[in-house]
């Protein structure tokens, strides 16, 4: 029971007759979170097979329809129409089609930005932690400094100049601030791993620096890297949604944040059109909760001490 995860990951073939269902990766929080995220992905992939996604375009549907199950909508709204189960908003978009078209984009922005941030973080973190000396000092100083810059504010400046933006450019912009977190984390872990026996052993047996970094240390860092990456995806989706909610997101394709922006601009809250802002928020809550559960699960995978103390 007390076998350290770290060793399990490093030596997958060593223990004979290891119970596969005892793997720390089968953490219920991690799996639960993963299922939520997969739900959103499937909605984007499978959804369009069953629903006409072009209804997400402006003026493709009647205006201001409430969702079908709303029985006593205020008098200013037309009666619900089964052809638009989640209702429509004031620009004539069908909410169901909008959700299918928009949700995967949010995940993609987060994945690209966090992926770039992670790649830079691995490079810089290993350099700083492994080589030390002045490269370490420079990398540490700059990442400590960038991490305290209010990135969302800087991104607002940039994207208010660059009005025409697409998902890929947005992810690139977000990646500008996505690397210091992973860099700090990896540096700290590498510093502590560097003195471990098996790394010393590898060094003594003449392994190259590259091999020590990627064949010896990397597998042991996997749970940490996965937790950091997942947290980063969430943070970048948050930043992207924030920019979009201010009206600074892509305007040519539907996104969840821009849907919220249009809803706020049209005073949907005060008009009682909860379905206009409620569904995009629900989708984002599913995404954020899923990613958050994954992070908590991954933390428990990485740090066995946390596993015992879940509130009963």
């Amino acid at each position: 029971m007390t076998t350290e995860v770290i060793q399990e990951v490093a030596l997958p073939e060593a223990p004979v007759g290891l119970n596969r269902w005892d793997s720390p990766w089968l953490n219920p929080k991690f799996i639960g979170g993963l299922l939520l995220v997969i739900f959103v992905v499937l909605l984007g992939i499978v959804g369009p097979l069953f629903w006409d996604i072009t209804l997400a375009r402006v003026a493709s549907s009647p205006l201001n329809l409430p969702p079908v199950w709303v029985k006593n909508a205020p008098i200013m709204f037309p009666p619900p129409d089964p052809a638009h189960p989640l209702g429509t908003e004031s620009n004539g978009r069908d909410m169901l089609a909008l959700m299918m078209a928009a949700a995967p984009g949010s995940l993609r922005v987060g994945l690209i930005a966090a992926g770039l941030g992670m790649a830079v973080g691995i490079l810089l973190g290993f350099t700083a932690g492994f080589i030390g000396g002045w490269p370490d000092a420079v990398i540490r100083t700059i990442s400590d400094s960038v991490i305290t810059i209010p990135s969302l504010a800087v991104l607002i400046v940039i994207s208010s100049y660059v009005r025409q933006i697409n998902i890929e450019n947005m992810a690139l912009l977000l990646a500008l601030f996505a690397w210091p977190g992973p860099t700090r984390l990896i540096r700290a872990q590498v510093l502590s791993l560097r003195e471990r026996g098996y790394v010393q052993m590898a060094r003594l047996s003449g392994a190259t620096t590259f091999d020590i970094m990627f064949k010896e240390m990397m597998p042991n860092l996997l749970p940490y890297l996965a937790a950091s990456f997942t947290g980063n995806v969430s943070a970048n989706i948050l930043a992207a949604t924030g920019l979009e909610a201010l009206g600074l997101g892509p305007t040519r394709i539907p996104t969840l944040g821009m849907t919220i922006f249009y809803a706020i601009r049209a005073a949907a809250i005060l008009r009682g059109m909860w379905w206009w802002w409620g569904f995009p928020i629900l989708m984002l809550v599913i995404i954020f909760t899923g990613l958050f559960l994954m992070v908590v699960g991954l933390d428990e995978i990485a740090n066995p001490r946390l596993r015992g103390i879940q509130a009963q």
């Binding site: 100083t141 700059i142 400590d144 400094s145 960038v146 991490i147 305290t148 810059i149 209010p150 990135s151 969302l152 504010a153 800087v154 607002i156 400046v157 940039i158 208010s160 100049y161 660059v162 009005r163 500008l176 969430s234 943070a235 948050l238 930043a239 949604t241 924030g242 909610a245 201010l246 009206g247 600074l248 919220i260 706020i264 809250i269 005060l270 009682g272 909860w274 802002w277 928020i281 984002l284 809550v285 954020f288 909760t289 990613l291 958050f292 908590v296 933390d299 740090n303 001490r305 946390l306 103390i309 509130a311 009963q312």
Partner: protein, 336 residues
């Protein structure tokens, strides 16, 4: 021991200057690398509103001259850094002739009050919850109820803000929709005005507190698990010290230290979240000013607000860094 050394203060000041310089340089450089000309965009906006402008080319040229955009980029940069360091941010494009620094000066106290109080409340509440979650002697009932406070941890503050407006302002009408005080209210130190401010500030502050306290709780839980296993905790209990004394002075006192570092590191992110909460609640702080700038294409205003946000957050980090050795006397800052 535990006192501030000159070297430490100098290093922290250096970090402060580096952060502010990096941030200001980013907001100067990146828009200039991007395609498009802000002045041309401005003029085309004006002409879209006013019909046609016969001499738009001259207008563009004169605006460019007015803002020094016809000079070499290096000259522009030096002038920009000089102006920023003396807090001269120039006139607002959309609210001419109002100066950006005056507009920011009016908005800043609101943001400082809202964000500062909300962050303080969330930090205290979150850490207490987290410590109780990890402590062995927490009563069973509290242990069962506390995780409920983590429900909204992963939700962005502004989304909870929208929900709160819908429930408590639109539905139940307990709190106002927007603003920081009643319409036509005078900014003054009177009891009725303070009541207004609290009434208006409750929902935006709640939106920030509820969504951020789980972050502190989770961090504290992890730290407290480690601390609770230490020998001195067992000794303190064996000596028969009162449980609350063990909890606060032996447990929390030691587990809180990395949390304070984490607070310094996340100030920037917290400020970003508050910006959007202010926009949702039409709260008259920096965030709403920023939105005003975005809507009007007021680039000097946007840059000025963001510059002040960068400086404000860096100052907050500097203050925490300078207080830290007083809280954690173990660390000798003499090294290196």
């Amino acid at each position: 021991m535990g006192s501030l050394t000159v070297g430490y203060i100098v290093r922290r000041l250096g970090m402060f200057l580096l952060t502010v310089w990096l941030g200001t340089t980013l907001i100067f450089a990146i828009p200039r690398m991007a395609p498009g000309d802000p002045v041309a965009a401005m003029v085309s906006r004006i002409s879209a509103q006013a019909g046609t402008i016969s001499n738009s080319a001259e207008m563009i040229a004169s605006w460019r001259k007015r803002f020094g955009l016809d000079e070499p980029i290096l000259v522009q940069y030096v002038r920009y850094i000089y102006n920023a360091s003396t807090f001269q941010l120039g006139p607002s494009l959309a609210h001419f002739p109002a100066n950006v620094q005056d507009m920011v000066a009016r908005a800043f106290p609101w943001t400082l009050g809202l964000l500062g109080l909300a962050t303080l409340m969330s930090f205290i509440a979150g850490n207490v919850v987290g410590a109780l979650l990890a402590w062995r002697r927490t009563p069973g009932l509290a242990r069962a109820l506390l995780p409920a406070t983590l429900t909204f941890t992963s939700i962005p503050p502004f989304m909870l803000g929208i929900l709160l407006i819908y429930l408590f302002a639109f539905g139940l009408k307990w709190f106002p929709f927007s603003g920081a005080y009643d319409m036509g209210g005078q900014t003054q130190w009177s009891w009725s005005f303070i009541k207004q401010v609290i009434h208006h500030g409750t929902l935006p502050a709640l939106a920030i507190v509820i969504t951020t306290m789980g972050f502190w709780a989770l961090g504290m839980r992890g730290m407290m698990v480690t601390t609770d296993g230490e020998d001195y905790m067992i000794l303190a209990q064996a000596k028969g010290l009162h449980p609350s004394r063990v909890f606060w002075l032996y447990g929390v006192r030691n587990a809180i230290l990395p949390q304070i570092t984490a607070l310094a590191l996340s100030l920037g992110a917290l400020a970003g979240g508050a910006v959007i909460v202010e926009y949702i609640f039409t709260y008259p702080g920096m965030g709403y000013l920023l939105y005003d700038g975005i809507v009007n294409g007021d680039y000097t205003l946007i840059q000025g607000v963001v510059f002040f946000l960068i400086v404000g957050v860096a100052l907050g980090v500097l203050i925490i860094d300078l207080l830290y050795p007083l809280i954690d006397p173990r660390i000798s800052y003499q090294k290196k």
